[in-house]
């Protein structure tokens, strides 16, 4: 069946900001869908609130809307664009829910938009647990015993009947939010209450526990002619009880006989057909009781998913791309397999390697959260590794995680072993290795963990072999054992620690013995057909298939697993680097290990190495490819950490010299440079001990900002108001610090305005890409702060100073490519430089979308030797956005109950959104809406404002009063409002007594908070207010700038119709 000709214009809804459970994988799927549909000649209208995505690049769709994914805004876009169809299945749960909401609201019908991919009935049948269970029972598939409840009593009665532990699954929540396991009646009462609350429909499935069962996933595709194929099977290393997003997973399934596998395959296809997914991809999850073999179906997702992204990368079969083509009526046998070119996409990939995915958690960012894994996903990112065997892939994956811990240096508590094995935590694998090394048997380890003995046996073999190696030295080890070690996946680093020699010595010995990494291809067919796509992974086997070309080539080092502070923004930059290189006729070579990303799509770079970003792995690739240059400044801290060692090994780094990058991170040398340049920095010092830190702080005067050197995302950064706070910080931080990595202590500038600047430099000229004004108080990490482009309240004098400083710093550091500078403007108008990073920053995609200039691509051109002066298409000096663009962060606090949701210098947001408007107010209002904190239309405003800003505050209060808002204020603030003739009620501060402002918030009497704290006691107040506001989902604003924007935004919302504007329109001006 050829593709449909009755539809021409297709709308795609993306997944919004990166949150836990919805990350880059939907940028990957959305990007693939856009490309696939346009290749087939369709017009694409894309909507996504997340500016950091590749999919929102204006080149990828006819019209690209960075707008809130709410029914009102989507309706407006539909009315304006009049698409013929809506592809509902590539934007994650958010895209699916938004599509469903549009259908339910009758908007699709009204404007004649057909939902393609999965229709409304299929979505409902798959998502509604009761309907799903009924459907599965109808086709004879086994499901867990369960009951859907809407109240506590019914739930308790049922769980008493089936026994504990009992699983709770709230309906229609993301990534299993609000779910849990109740081990007893008391816990059941508590958890069920929360679950009922969190479900948007107040409905919870109470379910028989299948804890400890084997867990599997199947990735399925179906076309309009009912051709069905399995792309990949996945077996979870961690048995049932740990969310699949938090499980180590392995592809393909390892411990199933063909009969069991085919039974699962039959069940998957039957499920797809019964649910009625007419075209596209789905994911079906199963559990098997290892004792009885009972096989139950857990759930199915009628859309592409995190697992389908993994399956695509694991097999080389691009699920989202094919699913998009199937959605427009093409058949699987009409679509060619990209990799073999000669065979059709209608087949089931076969693989001749093992793939392991390991999640990355960041519980350390959320003090107070219990680092226990359960049925609600907590991981922030993941890595994938491809190896010749499970062992090889697993060790590669662990290396890819960049835990910062050196192999073999973990400290274990022997008393905790059993509990660490029984209760899944991020540390379980480490403890498992420790326990096996201490002589625990596979049987015992299985009893405690329920992990399949086959996996445990693989661990045991590797650990035993390591013991054998430990009897050797670098001199005595046989070539055979050294080769075996490499085939098992031991890194040179690991071996060097085992033998007490340098990594370089191991490398040298290995090379002498002729034991080198070779590269195999991911080809979908286990080498049955020739592969035309260089998608490569390293192994220690005989034959190399890399076949490097003779072209001019540049290698891009990616950013590894998503983590807070280093996420999709850097992947965006790496993809752009590849595009820019290709435009300049260089061959682009991508190195990365994150399966979620667009950068690891074999379509993005000319050649893809799916490899850990370690010195050993990167050097091996360099030796094979011999690139003309390597780009290290786009992948965040990961490649930067490698830049000096790479340079020392003679690797040609293009762009800013690694020495300059290092200089900028070296407190002393950087400080001297700033002094020479006459650029002021906040006074500060360094310390490696508690005493030293107290001394520095004393000299500077409190409050001080304390942080370790060499970190991204403000890891472990705090504001200290007292000696006691310094002491407690240093006690924890000393572990991280050393003579070459001291703790940095700076004077903290209260009431300052922070500014982020991105700039391009060719070594001679500088082009400022954006001066972004933060609209949170200084001291909140720049990644957690909303910001606005262009700057709204900064005076021309300060702007000029910022421009001057930026140019001076860029030239002094000899920047070639991108640079990011953070400034603080103190209350008295003085500009200080906080830090300079001669590399791509998190804000590059936002700046690019706001200005319409592909900043990362321009940077690559500069790195490859072009000059700004030779680019007449660029404005001189600074890029200016045509409208107002506000970027706002999104936080994962709802996934970490019990964690203090206050903001500080340690970054905690996982994602971002952008609001575009004619005015600051409109843009701010949209950004807040997209970030999930919509501004209220009415209600009550609470204000607490420092003395020097009270006049300005009164002006803002007047605007709210005019809109009918009730006004509350702390004593001083309320008095000033009253003095101005406003009717304001006084509320106690937290430390004044009760009932206070927090009680007021908890009572639901406040709909908006403007609180600009200063000083230690205000700081405590602020925390309490933030906490209460977060719990009640009330927007909490900490800068008057934002307060005014909120007033304007609310006025705009009340008075004028919703406005939507595509990036293409925005960039035309």
């Amino acid at each position: 069946m050829p593709k449909r000709t009755d539809i021409h214009k297709i709308m795609i809804i993306g997944s919004g900001p990166i949150v836990i459970g919805q990350a880059c994988e939907f940028d990957y799927s959305g990007t693939q869908a856009c490309k696939a549909l346009r290749d087939e000649g369709y017009e694409v209208v894309l909507v996504n609130s997340n500016p950091a995505t590749i999919m929102t690049d204006p080149e990828l769709a006819e019209q690209t809307y960075v707008e809130p994914l709410t029914v009102e805004y989507l309706r407006e876009i539909i009315e304006k664009e009049r698409p013929d169809a809506l592809l509902s299945t590539v934007g994650g749960q958010t895209g699916l829910n938004a599509s469903l909401a549009l259908a339910d609201a009758g908007i699709l019908e009204k404007f004649g938009v057909e939902m393609i991919g999965a229709n409304r009935d299929a979505i409902n049948k798959a998502e509604d647990r009761q309907q799903f269970k009924a459907a599965m029972t109808k086709i004879g598939l086994d499901t867990p015993k369960s009951l859907l409840v809407t109240d506590l009593e019914a739930g308790l009665e049922f769980s008493d009947e089936i026994g504990y532990p009992t699983i709770l699954r709230p309906s229609f929540t993301l990534g299993g939010s609000g779910g849990g396991i109740a081990y007893n009646r008391e816990e059941m009462v508590e958890l069920l209450r929360i679950a009922l609350e969190i479900s948007p429909v107040h409905e919870v499935l109470v379910e028989e526990s299948v804890l400890g069962w084997k867990e599997y996933e199947m990735e399925v595709l179906r076309d309009v002619a009912d051709n069905c194929i399995i792309i990949c099977s996945i077996e979870n290393f961690d048995p049932m009880g740990v969310h699949t997003g938090d499980s180590i997973t392995v592809a393909p399934a390892q411990t199933l006989t063909d009969r069991e596998y085919q039974f699962m395959r039959d069940a998957s296809l039957a499920c797809l057909r019964e649910i009625g997914v007419d075209t596209g991809g789905s994911n079906v999850q199963f559990a098997i009781d290892p004792k009885t073999g009972r096989q139950i179906i857990i759930e199915m997702n009628p859309r592409v998913s995190r697992s389908s992204a993994l399956a695509s990368k694991a097999t080389g079969f691009p699920i989202a791309k094919i699913a998009a083509k199937l959605a427009v009526g093409m058949r699987l046998d009409e679509i060619a397999n990209d990799i073999t070119k000669k065979t059709p996409a209608c087949f089931e990939p076969s693989i001749d390697y093992v793939v392991v995915k390991v999640p990355k958690w960041q519980f350390e960012k959320f003090p107070g959260a219990e680092p226990v894994l359960g049925i609600q996903m907590k991981s922030i990112g993941e890595v994938m590794a491809i190896g010749s065997t499970f062992k090889h892939a697993l060790w590669k994956a662990i290396r890819s995680l960049e835990t910062g811990r050196k192999p073999g240096t973990d400290v274990f508590d022997p008393d905790l072993v059993r509990s660490r094995l029984i209760t899944p935590t991020p540390e379980r694998l480490s403890y498992l290795r420790y326990a096996l090394a201490q002589g625990m048997t596979v049987e015992e380890a299985h009893d405690l963990t329920k992990i399949d003995p086959w996996f445990l046996e693989q661990l045991r073999e590797a650990i035993d072999f390591q013991g054998t190696l430990g009897d050797d030295t670098l001199e005595t080890v046989s070539d055979e054992n050294l080769r075996q070690a490499k085939r098992y996946g031991f890194s040179d680093d690991r071996l060097s620690r085992l033998w007490g020699v340098t990594e370089a010595a191991v490398r040298e010995k290995r090379k002498e013995a002729g034991i080198n990494a070779v590269y195999k291809r991911v080809d979908t067919c286990a080498a049955e057909f020739e592969s035309f796509t260089p998608y490569l992974y390293s192994v220690y086997e005989d034959e190399c298939e890399a076949e490097p070309t003779e072209r001019k080539k540049v290698m891009i080092l990616g950013s590894g697993p998503n983590r807070i502070g280093q996420g999709i923004e850097f992947d965006y930059c790496c993809c752009h680097a590849s595009y820019a290189l290709q435009e300049m006729d260089y061959e682009s070579i991508m190195v990365n290990c994150n399966p979620e990303t667009v950068s690891t799509d074999y379509d993005t770079a000319d050649r893809l190495y799916f490899e850990p970003l370690t010195l050993e792995n990167v050097l091996n690739i360099v030796e094979t490819e011999k690139p003309d240059g390597v780009i290290v400044q786009f992948g965040g801290q990961t490649p930067l950490n490698l830049s000096l060692p790479l340079k020392a090994n003679g690797v040609p780094i293009v762009g800013t010299d690694p020495e300059s990058i290092d200089l900028a991170e070296d407190r002393d040398r950087f400080g001297r440079l700033m002094e020479q340049l006459d650029i002021p920095q906040p006074p500060g010092g360094m310390a490696t001990s508690v005493e030293g830190a107290l001394e520095v702080a004393q000299d500077l005067g409190y409050p001080v900002l304390v942080r370790p050197s060499y970190v991204l995302g403000g890891r472990a950064m705090v504001i200290c108001y007292s000696a006691a706070m310094i002491e407690s910080y240093m006690r924890e931080a000393v572990a991280y610090s050393s003579q070459d990595r001291p703790i940095l202590i700076d004077r903290y500038l209260e009431n300052a305005t922070e500014v982020d600047v991105d700039a391009l430099c060719d070594g001679e000229d500088v082009l400022i890409a954006g001066i972004m004004e933060h609209i949170e108080e200084a001291g909140i990490h720049s990644g957690d702060s909303s910001c606005v482009l262009p700057a709204m309240t900064i005076g021309e004098e300060q702007l000029q100073t910022i421009r001057d400083y930026t140019v001076k710093a860029a030239k002094a550091l000899n920047v070639v490519g991108l640079m990011n500078v953070q400034y603080a403007i103190s209350a008295d108008g003085k500009v200080y430089v906080i830090e300079v990073n001669p590399r791509a920053s998190r804000t590059v995609p936002y700046v690019s979308k706001a200005t319409g200039f592909p900043v990362a691509k321009i940077a690559v051109q500069l790195m490859m030797g072009r000059k700004l002066a030779d680019m007449p298409e660029l404005p001189k000096g600074i890029l200016v956005p045509h409208k107002v663009c506000v970027k706002s962060p999104v936080f994962p606090f709802n996934k970490f109950p019990g964690v203090d949701p206050i903001l500080g210098p340690e970054m905690r947001s996982t994602g971002e959104v952008m609001g575009v408007g004619e005015t600051f107010g409109e843009a701010f209002s949209k950004a807040q809406l997209s970030a999930g904190n919509p501004l209220p239309d009415d209600g009550a405003l609470f204000m607490s404002i420092g003395a020097e800003q009270k006049d300005e505050a009164v002006e803002i209060a007047k605007k709210f009063a005019a809109m009918g808002f009730e006004l509350f204020g702390t004593r001083g603030t309320a008095e000033r409002m009253r003095a101005a003739g406003l009717d304001a009620k006084v509320v106690f501060k937290v430390n004044e007594g009760r009932p206070n402002v927090v009680d007021l918030i908890k009572d639901g009497k406040v709909s908006l908070i403007i609180n600009t704290p200063a000083g230690a006691s205000a700081f405590e107040d602020e925390r309490a207010i933030r906490r209460a506001a977060a719990a009640q989902v009330i927007p909490c604003i900490s800068m008057l700038t934002a307060g005014r924007a909120a007033a304007d935004g609310i006025a705009a919302k009340r008075d004028q119709a919703i406005q939507v504007m595509s990036l293409q329109e925005l960039h035309q001006g």
Partner: protein, 375 residues
């Protein structure tokens, strides 16, 4: 316990690995199978007689072997080449470690091989003769041995593996899980199956459609078969070159038109010979579980289980009498045909799966319908 082992190919290429199980030496045609599951079924499939099998999936032996998943009474292959053989069997259904199962039959296992390099070699140069040995570790000697064994082309292996005695089969497919519901129709038909190396799952599937099967030796005459009063005749899969099976084809000619006839794999090739067609050797054959086959009658694509080194030349089939029904979408080779006038049809691939997808199970139902129609 592991020990040195070598795989030597007739073209002089030698792979060094480790032996698993009991040391042995065996020779055969080296072929590769790309399936991700089902090694036990492969080991015990009589069609692999005379062949050394390279499994492209690197982890083999993980789930052991069991009595239910056997495709014949014992392992049939000459040798096994894998990347990594599992030291333990982890599965509820396992009754024996897989290496023990092979060692009992004297089948050598070589592991630690860069199997992908070997597969690429076979893909480029075609399936070829080879020897696995851990008894003789002299590469030159092994290369010479590889060159002395007979070529697959022209070999009648089917007659050798065929049953000597007629026997009855009435076992259905057992469920692999308490959650699996397998329908077994009431026994209603009698099928006579020509055994060229028949896989047990074919017999179980025949029982599933309500047939009791009498398995007869490959050389049984048409008259003897018809005297058993079958409702249908089945022509089985099997090893080797179909070309030498002219006499057997002639026998089967005598059955076509008298009762419904269904053939699989070698059976398909023999039915082609019986229809006057020619067969030829493929470069490295089709061995795997993921081959797309389009049913030309319905337009639907089936993912199929395949295991054949020879194929039928479609141009040699008399188009007036024969209708081509199934085509392989990877290489456009013929995968099935049927008679335009007689109740006879056959497929080159394996609708009984074991191992492989169950997409083509409908063909057994079609056989049942033919038998029903003839009553």
């Amino acid at each position: 316990m592991s020990f040195a082992a070598l795989l030597a190919l007739e073209d002089g290429r030698v792979f060094r690995g480790r032996g698993v199980g009991t040391p042995a030496e065996r020779a055969g045609e080296v072929v590769f199978n790309t399936g991700l599951t089902g090694y036990q079924e492969i080991f015990s499939d009589p069609s692999y007689t005379g062949q050394i099998v390279v499994l492209t999936y690197p982890q083999i032996g993980n789930y052991g072997v069991n009595d239910e998943d056997r495709e014949s009474l014992k392992p049939c292959l000459e040798g096994l080449v894998v990347r990594e053989f599992s030291p333990i069997a982890s599965n509820r259904r396992s009754q024996q470690p897989a290496d023990e199962y092979l060692s009992e039959a004297g089948v050598p296992i070589i592991d630690g091989i860069d199997t992908r390099a070997l597969v690429r070699h076979l893909r480029e140069h075609g399936a070829m003769r080879g020897v696995i040995s851990s008894l003789d570790l002299d590469p030159d000697s092994l290369i010479q041995k590889a060159r002395t064994i007979p070529n697959m082309a022209g070999r009648d292996l089917a007659s050798a593996v065929s049953t000597k005695e007629r026997y009855e089969w009435t076992d259905p497919v057992p469920a692999s899980s308490p959650s699996e519901h397998i329908t077994t129709a009431e026994e209603k038909f009698h099928v006579v199956a020509y055994d060229f190396g028949i896989k047990h799952n074919i017999l179980r599937q025949l029982r599933g459609i309500g047939a009791r099967t009498t398995v007869v030796p490959a050389g049984t005459s048409a008259a003897d078969v018809l005297s058993l009063k079958p409702d249908g005749v089945f022509v089985s899969n099997g090893p080797g070159d179909p070309e030498p099976l002219q006499a057997q084809a002639k026998n089967i000619q005598g059955v076509i038109g008298r009762v419904p006839v269904f053939g699989i794999c070698l059976g398909h090739q023999v039915l082609a010979l019986a229809s006057g067609a020619k067969t030829f050797k493929l470069k490295f054959g089709h061995h795997g579980c993921n081959h797309p086959v389009r049913n030309e009658l319905t337009g639907k694509v089936e993912i199929t289980s395949q295991n054949h080194g020879f194929a039928v030349d479609p141009d040699s089939l008399p188009s007036a009498e024969i209708e081509l029904t199934h085509i392989n979408l990877n290489d456009q080779t013929l995968e099935g045909f049927r008679s335009r006038k007689d109740p006879m049809f056959c497929v080159q691939y394996h609708p009984e799966a074991a191992p492989g997808p169950h997409d083509s199970a409908y063909l057994f139902q079609e056989f049942r319908e033919l038998m029903e129609g003839q009553r």
